[in-house]
């Protein structure tokens, strides 16, 4: 190490939006002011994953892990830690009281993780190609170009057992094989970076933190199947990722790693970025290709599959960001190594965006086969506020919920499907007993209803009809045959929708109906929301035996529907109450009752 200290600062979107940029600049200024430029190097990295605690500053070599750092803390970090060698105690991550100042690798959030896809995120500066190269970047490309035939590459990928990380889990090697085997004058490599599941940011983080890994993999794919042109389809809402990709592509071209005659060989390959307008359905591969072609993003029937007839009718490899990010490591470390990780049918790792009622929300990467319990209780630090775990939703709007009974199921493509959910692209939302399953289902369905392209009748009409039924149920207007209708429509949508969006859109409904039918019945028959979440079914009342007439509730009520004089009983006017719950939280005497 040339420097005494390396100061890694997260520059992912989450931290940047939390004054991360100002923090970086402040640190830069402080380093200069302290005159320690020769001793400490400031590195702007990609996402650390531990977003709950961001912005994060990690100092090497001792792995000091500073959390929730603001620009105002910059002076202290430099003056104390760098200049005087004294850690800034108040900023260090404290796992529990007993164990102060763990090395970052010992933090339980990281301990059960295995970072293959995220190997360079939070380690290198994604805007400097040399840092990627220093971590074996482009070594796989070099190996492939000089030592491997396309068939050998395909064999290695097939043997590795890598499956598509976009959701469906199709074997990547076979996809490449089909494309290679289809003769054509032109072939294309497409990267699906149209990540759209609510709350998911796996792909964004890879592109922001390690853009070269995707560029390298696409170039390898190009060499393997005989394509000279690649497209990255990325949503316009990811400006930082787009910036980093552009920077990375410019640097790669300058280094002869992209463009004409790569590394002096006869192989030429270049990549263009295509921006998506944020339509979720454009994550569906045929709709995505239509969108790149300049058409309306609507799915078309398969076959023909893109590997045979894709972009502009030419054979096309289309993989998502996370899939590509695996490729260079597999080729360097070998399929044997990769296939030793994971389960029988699902190899390697999976990145999840862990959110919801969990203590450590953030971006995590775990070996396939990790149990939900490990993810929630070890990595995630358990349920926030100590409540009871109710369910975890995986697979985003296309997935389903996993109940406590399945906490010990090893997670892989098949196991999730068998319990009515799916891997999806990696969203994972944890819910506790305060979450109403009808409310949650409504949320997901509203999303797919909004995002339906409108092409096929089952999805276009069925989704909206189901949503309206759920909406009625959540408002206490459910009818006895609603459950039957939901099942009927859900079944038809699954069977008769054209694309994955429509086929999986009823999954949240079907899976909650499977595991929480009682909760539905409570809403429909008893007009009660057991979780106390559905506003229309809640009634706030003041317990006359407890009310002391402090007026706190009346003062907080935004619609002034609470009447009562000081030190006298207060009363809520039910006809005006909007059920916002302000009075409930305001009352210090437990006099406001929710029922």
């Amino acid at each position: 190490m040339a420097y005494k200290n390396y100061i890694l600062v997260c520059a992912g979107t989450a931290c940047e939006s939390n004054k991360g940029k100002a923090l970086y600049e402040a640190l830069e200024k402080e380093i200069k002011a302290a005159g320690v430029e020769a001793e400490a190097q400031l590195v702007k990295t990609g996402c650390f994953g531990f977003c709950e605690q961001g912005p994060i500053v990690k100092i090497l070599p001792d792995e000091s892990f500073y959390v929730k750092v603001g620009p105002k803390d910059a002076h202290e970090i430099i003056a104390e830690h760098i200049v005087k060698g004294r850690k800034v105690e108040r900023l260090l991550y404290k796992e529990n009281k007993a164990e102060n100042d763990p090395r970052s690798s010992d933090i339980s959030f990281y301990r059960k993780q295995l970072r293959i896809v995220l190997r360079n995120c939070a380690v290198i500066n994604p805007e400097i190609i040399d840092e990627y190269i220093a971590r074996d970047g482009y070594a796989a490309l070099e190996k492939v170009l000089f030592e491997m035939t396309p068939d050998a590459v395909i064999k290695e990928i097939v043997d590795s057992g890598l499956r598509g990380r976009g959701g469906a889990g199709f074997p990547t090697g076979r996809k490449w094989q089909f494309t290679k085997n289809t003769p054509a004058d032109q072939k294309y490599i497409v990267c699906n970076a149209d990540e759209g599941d609510p709350g998911a940011y796996m792909d964004r983080s890879v592109l922001e933190g390690d853009p070269h890994s995707v560029l390298e993999a696409m170039t390898i794919a190009g060499y393997t199947v005989g394509a000279s042109k690649g497209f990255i389809y990325i949503r316009a809402e990811y400006p930082l990722a787009i910036d980093r990709l552009n920077t990375a592509m410019a640097q790669a071209r300058e280094y002869g790693l992209l463009g004409d005659r790569i590394l002096g060989t006869d192989f030429s390959f270049d990549i263009e970025i295509r921006l998506g307008a944020g339509a979720f359905v454009c994550g569906e591969e045929t709709a995505l290709l239509a969108s790149i072609e300049g058409n309306r993003g609507m799915p078309v029937p398969r076959p023909p599959f893109p590997a045979v007839k894709g972009l502009w009718g030419k054979p096309t490899v289309i993989n998502n960001v996370e899939t590509y990010a695996n490729i260079p490591v597999i080729l360097l470390k070998g399929s044997k190594w990769f296939s030793s990780i994971g389960t029988e049918t699902s190899k390697g790792t999976k990145v999840f965006a862990l959110t919801g009622k969990i203590n450590n929300s953030g971006l995590i990467e775990v070996p396939m086969g990790t149990t939900l319990r490990d993810i929630i209780y070890d990595i995630g630090g358990g349920i926030a506020s100590g409540k009871k775990f109710k369910a975890a939703q995986t697979g985003g709007p296309s997935g389903g919920c996993i109940t406590a009974a399945f906490l010990d199921t090893p997670i892989d493509y098949e196991s999730l499907q068998s319990i009515g959910s799916m891997m999806g692209s990696g969203g994972m939302i944890v819910m506790d007993e305060d979450d109403c399953m009808i409310d949650v289902t409504k949320f997901y369905l509203e999303f797919t209803v909004d995002e339906s392209c409108g092409k096929c009748a089952p999805c276009r009409i069925g989704g909206r009809t189901c949503y309206n039924i759920l909406d009625r149920i959540s408002k206490g207007q459910g009818k006895p045959d609603d459950i039957q209708k939901l099942k009927e429509i859900g079944h038809a949508m699954r069977k008769a929708s054209l694309c994955g969006l429509g086929q999986t859109a009823p999954n949240p409904v079907m899976s909650t109906l499977k595991y929480f039918e009682e909760e539905y019945r409570a809403h429909i028959e008893d007009k009660k929301c057991p979780a106390g979440k559905c506003k229309e079914m809640i009634c706030y009342m003041i317990d006359e035996t407890k009310c002391v007439g402090c007026t706190a509730c009346a003062r907080r009520c935004p619609v002034s529907c609470i009447s009562g004089e000081v030190k006298k009983l207060h009363v809520i006017d039910q006809s005006k109450c909007i059920k916002c719950g302000q009075c409930f939280t305001a009352c210090k005497f437990d006099a406001v009752k929710k029922g």
């Binding site: 076959p303 096929c456 276009r460 209708k485 038809a492 069977k495």
Partner: protein, 582 residues
Amino acid sequence: MNMIELEINGIPVSVKPGTSLIDAAKLVGVKIPTLCYHADLDPWAACGICVVKVEGSPKMLRACATPAGPGMKVITHDPEIVNVRRTVLELILSTHPNDCLQCSRNRNCELQTLAEEFGIREVSYERRLRHLPADDSTKSVVLNPEKCIACGRCAKVCQNMQGVWAIEFIGRGETTRIAPAADVVLDESPCIKCGQCTAHCPVGALYEHDQTREVWNAIEEHKKHCVVQIAPAVRVAIGEAFGYEPGEVLTGQLYAALRRLGFNAVFDTNFTADLTIMEEGSEFVHRVTEGGVLPQITSCCPAWTDYMEKFAPDFIPNFSSAKSPQQMLGAMAKTYYAEKAGIDPKDMYVVSVMPCTAKKFEVSRDKGMTSSGFQDVDVSITTRELARMIKQAGIDFKNLPNEEPDSLLAEYSGAGTIFGVTGGVMEAALRTAYFLITKEDLKDVHFMDVRGLEGVKAATVDVKGTKVRVAVAHQMGNVEAVLNQVRQAKEKGEELPYHFIEVMACRGGCIGGGGQPHGATDEIRKKRMAGIYTDDEKSVLRCSHHNPMIKKIYEDFLGKPLSHKAHELLHTGYQERKVYKK
């Protein structure tokens, strides 16, 4: 060719590669229901009704979009499949007005038929209707988005078959609907009024602008002298509305029906088709001999002229200035016939019955359409509208006697009648042009190379040593390739690929027009075509220049082809128009 062997409902079948399951199922006597699939179009796979089970696939597959594969085991119906189809159908009905009684497609609607077949007695799901205004801005085709089931046929026809791209899906999710780009109205869009969208719509979301009441009103006005003309293609298709097979030639019954509807004079557009040939043929000979602009391109299809003015204005000098037969008949009725019959043209009302929705637009497309001093054709109705009028009158069409038309503007040669099919105008023109150039008649009047459903047909005709190269394009989307051949030759300074080009906007020509009875497929188009050629074969006279009434109209009134008077009444001009009006 290696046939594909598969099993449908346990019955082995063998089909050509590429055959869809929906077509393969016909071999075992199963008609799989669908709302979006149409034999003219690549499967768009929208409606979700044609789902079937294929062994090994966890989901149901769309029969329209799934090619038969070797060893496939297909089940086209079981209780689960029928239930899924019923659910999807009910979902569609839950967002459809279901006001069949007031619908243009009542008793002729694919959705209505399915609802009947599935025995739908109530719609179990929440009814959600969209209240959107109908777009009648073109006064030719009407788009009623309330009835649209978003099957996509219209957009696919407009884009892929016609190459016009006037309409597309806009919005998403349940607000998805069909509209021109930027949600302008059809009249401000590139729409060429060909009406192919109305011919392919399975429901009543796209239909002809109905003008039957205007016609009834005109007939009722005692002072008005109502004249009617029928286009070539009407006679071989109208029978379909009365239970005849497609292609049955019903000219005599049509004359009788029109007379019984109350028209004062019944004429035939085939007569002015012959007149068009005299003018257009002479124009062609003039261009060839006098070094005029070549290739000459036909202009009797108003959807094509609209297309050309918007998308290919560089070809304006190539356009034949001869008006279409419809317009020529209007002009002749209000001048020549008015004069002969002693009727003030201001009291005359000219109705035309056309296989076409664009003809409604043509009657007032520009100033040239008022050469008689009045609007030459007052109103143009489609074959479908005429069939309705006949039914409204209670006329027993099937038992009508054959009648003769009124004289002066009705006698026609075989050349006039073949105007109704692709290649027909070219063939008719060649029959006469040959005579005009060589002063001899053809020994064989058949030009088989320009017949049939091939999208672009090219032929070289030997006119006594002069090689005349011709091309025929139909189905609007096919024309661009022909125009590009000409453009390229011009650019490179090479010899022109063609001297004469015929273009018709609809597949098969007018027999497949947007105003014809619903349900046209290639099978039906071929039958209608056969009907037209039968009419030609039966004609004693096969060439326009032999038509005695044509000779008479020149002797009595017009002088000779391309005369000053002919130019005033029978020719027009073209101008560049914006693709989008705003």
